[in-house]
Symmetry: C2
Subunit: 516 residues, 2 copies
């Protein structure tokens, strides 16, 4: 048995049975080993950003890691942007990065690079296998590391000779997911005391606290104590929709955000981070909270969010039958007027099937959706967590692999969609039930706003050449068709509503280019 076989067995024993891959020569023994393991589902991405973004989307929905297979330093580098998003999402991911044989490294062959230096910024754990005898142990460490603190990116570097070398240490080491349980008593008591101290309190939620069961408990606590409840600005996954506890998010715009939070006197963090500006702007604050506002952390991402909230409710005397307001179903009215992000959101909201998974990388076009769909059928909402664009199409791909019986709807801006458009091919290859709504505003609309925000003025010739995606315009129907995904162009809301309704009734993949 060689190291590559042990690696496969260890992954499977650790409940890692999907491998998003873009392999190269140095990974050929691992490819051959995967060939001998029908239990491992191998999903090819035609670019590594698809591979890592799919692993992120998969982890968000499966609550366990997929493996990625990446070719040396440059292959890892191509996947780093979406690993950055996975890191911010707290998604468990196990990267297998091929490397030259150990004895070959000193020769500095063309593809040699410092893989650790590339991996570290986006990884919670980085390990290198030295010999085929170490493969099982190191792989088990990587799987375990991916599940620490609620989930993280673990990067395992696999030299070719460790993969092809024979080993007698063949027992794969199975792993148990780590949970930190609930916070210690003193913290629980402090938070409970604060929630009764009469100050204007914000419960700020992220991570598993945004799953429906935990949200219900958090909603009861907020309602009973008079606290306000908000989700972090970007979150890996929110379970929302009609019949669930609705939650708004921290605002993106600095001025609106600071105004919105101006009267908050204390914040309780539940798996969330204190709100900060997404970017810095001249003369504007980085900290979104008002001066003097106190911040106390109740749970980290590693805690059991549901159990922690239940313990807090109990300490506060909030019982499981305490009142909580749930989102009412939105009346399914057919939208009229112009084709805009808002009318599209209304249409999506009325046709979205129960259990749908919405992946949002619509950037400026996505703001309307969240507001207008709190009463849509219950669904999961997955957002761009790290700001590294090119997340949406791969994320939807991975979510569909994780949940083959649920509809995936990608809300995708055109500018960011171009970064990882190769994901459409994987959707076609794997017959994934993904419907992409491509918001064609033909530019980096957000950057026109930001150019004003930073006080840099209106765009002139050079700026427009860098912010507008026109001359030529992109034809997404052709791009999708070129990768085997059926697509249509729409420019009226009536047509959009008809096409989207149809797309919800038949299996995907499918793409709707909406000219807004």
């Amino acid at each position: 048995m060689n190291g590559a076989d042990v690696l496969c067995d260890t992954l499977l024993a650790g409940d890692v049975d999907v491998c998003f891959a873009n392999p190269g020569t140095s990974e050929m023994h691992f490819v051959a080993a995967l060939d001998r393991k029908p239990a491992m589902r191998c999903v090819l991405g035609l670019f590594e950003g698809v591979v890592t973004g799919a692993a992120d989307g998969y982890a968000r929905m499966a609550d366990k890691p997929a493996a990625t297979l990446l070719h040396l330093g440059p292959g890892l580098a191509n996947g780093l942007a979406n690993l950055h998003n996975a890191r911010r999402a707290g998604s468990p991911v196990v990267n297998i990065v091929g490397e030259h044989a150990t004895y070959h490294l000193p020769f500095d062959a063309p593809l040699t690079s410092d893989i650790e230096s590339l991996a570290r910024p986006m990884s919670a754990w980085v390990g290198r296998i030295g010999h085929s005898d170490e493969v099982g142990e190191r792989a088990a460490q990587a799987i375990a590391a991916s599940r620490v603190n609620g989930g993280g990116v673990a990067t395992l570097i696999l030299p070719a000779d460790a993969a092809w070398g024979e080993t007698s240490r063949t027992s794969p080491v199975a792993q148990t997911p780590t949970s930190e349980g609930i916070p210690d008593d003193p913290i629980l008591r402090e938070v409970a005391t604060r929630l009764r101290n009469g100050r204007r309190t914000l419960l700020l939620l992220s991570g598993h606290a945004l799953r429906a069961d935990a949200l219900t408990v958090a909603g009861r606590i907020a309602q009973a104590t008079g606290a306000r409840m908000l989700a972090q600005q970007s979150n890996a996954r929110i379970e929302r929709g009609a019949g669930r506890v609705p939650i708004e998010r921290v605002l993106y715009n600095i001025d609106a955000c600071t105004a919105d939070l101006a009267d908050v006197e204390q914040v309780v963090l539940i798996g969330a981070k204190a709100p900060v500006g997404f970017f810095a702007y001249p003369g504007k604050p980085s900290d979104m909270l008002p001066p003097g506002c106190e911040v106390v952390r109740y749970t980290t991402r590693g805690h059991d969010a549901l159990a922690s909230l239940q313990a807090l409710a109990e300490a506060l005397g909030v019982t499981p039958d305490a009142a909580v307001t749930l989102a009412k179903p939105t009346p399914p009215e057919r939208p009229t007027g112009a084709l805009t992000p808002a009318s599209i959101a209304a249409s999506v909201g009325r046709h979205l099937p129960e259990g749908a998974i919405v992946c949002d990388e619509a950037i400026t076009s996505g703001h309307a959706f969240f507001k207008l769909t709190s009463g849509a059928a219950p669904h999961d909402f997955l957002a761009l967590t790290g700001g590294a664009i090119g997340a949406g199409l791969p994320m939807g791909t991975g979510a569909a692999v994780a949940c083959p019986h649920r509809k995936v709807v990608c809300l995708q801006a055109d500018g960011s969609g171009m970064f990882t458009l190769q994901a459409l091919w994987t959707q076609a290859r794997e017959r994934l039930d993904v419907v992409t709504i491509l918001f064609a505003n033909r530019g980096y609309a957000i950057l026109h706003n930001e150019l004003k925000q930073v006080g840099a003025g209106e765009a002139g010739h050079n700026a427009r050449r860098m912010l507008d995606v026109v001359d030529p315009t992109l034809d997404w129907v052709k791009l999708a068709a070129g990768m085997g995904v059926e697509a249509v162009f729409v420019d009226t809301i009536a047509r959009f509503d008809d096409v989207f309704a149809l797309a919800m009734r038949r299996p995907g993949p499918f793409l709707i280019e909406a000219r807004i």
Copy 2:
């Protein structure tokens, strides 16, 4: 005047007047400054791998750096693979990487990452600006660093507040390119002595030694001393074709390469590295030279290749009128038979206009081209230097920006083409005269070979799912059209020859999908 203005002025004063860009919010002041500088040509790439690959191609042809504009750590990460190729090519590149304002960094906003750790593996120089007063000096350092040792990647990190901050230190510091001249006398004498010692000698060339003028001198030396002459396996640029000194390259296949070099007793490196295996294989050597073969370095990339070779010729008594064999023009016969890499090479060879620039990322389909076109019209040949795929289309884009009056021909494999297909949009946007020959073999053909080479056997189900790009097949005519590039599909050599001949006569961009 703010830091961003000083940065632009310093770049322009340093003869950096093209900026390949994909900006974000943190770079908006730099974008605004570029807006005020009509002398700076801003070229948008819809993905950062296009931006950096274009900068590489530009540098190879312009012999000076372009700037890149990249958005924070993830934006840099997306560009790293082609920076890896640029590093291996010795291409001068000045990366401007936006960063959060210095005071914003401790807040760990979503896009925060360790940019230095990401940049270092692919950069010869990494610098961070601390304050707007430092912008001019640091930018000048970056430009200078990009020209050390013949050319390298310099990465300058620009915090937003250094860009928007006012400064009185406005004088841009102009830079002079660095050259190390010719090697010291003792080295010159040793090399000259060796070339007369009667042993079987290999002159191994790379860098500027592969330009026509230097190659002519090297060819005379080789011919006069009986030495064999070879180019490194992958090179930034070779000036070749009819009437020039022909040169073969070190072979890729390990067995063929070691057999080819088996009788070499000594190697003289002229801007090249000693030949090593591109990858390691079980039981095969890393070092391609036979045991006991001595290696002596004459020049590094930083030396003046032409002057160094002239000095060596003089020391050897090889005069400028010494005999040297030049490549004869290939008779322009119309190829017949099947559409194959070889018949395509024959067609390209007969229609290639003088001064064309050929960018080769055809991988398995590209081997035939080099052999069959040594007698084509004089042209430049740019190769994949670092093995990080996705180089070809961006490289052709950058070469066309550098040389607007020369025809660019990209030899592009389909698998690698998908990594940075967004480059086609930039070719359309900038009306670049690029003709892409897309070799559609519908898979990672090289990996099927490699799977056998490493002894891993024939591909089974999982392996084929990762190595074959079928089900669905890609339609490159639609992909190109979706980005505004006219394209045709051909599957006979007669049709290819007709279409390619036409493409050589009219301005591009244009793409030919050749089903091989």
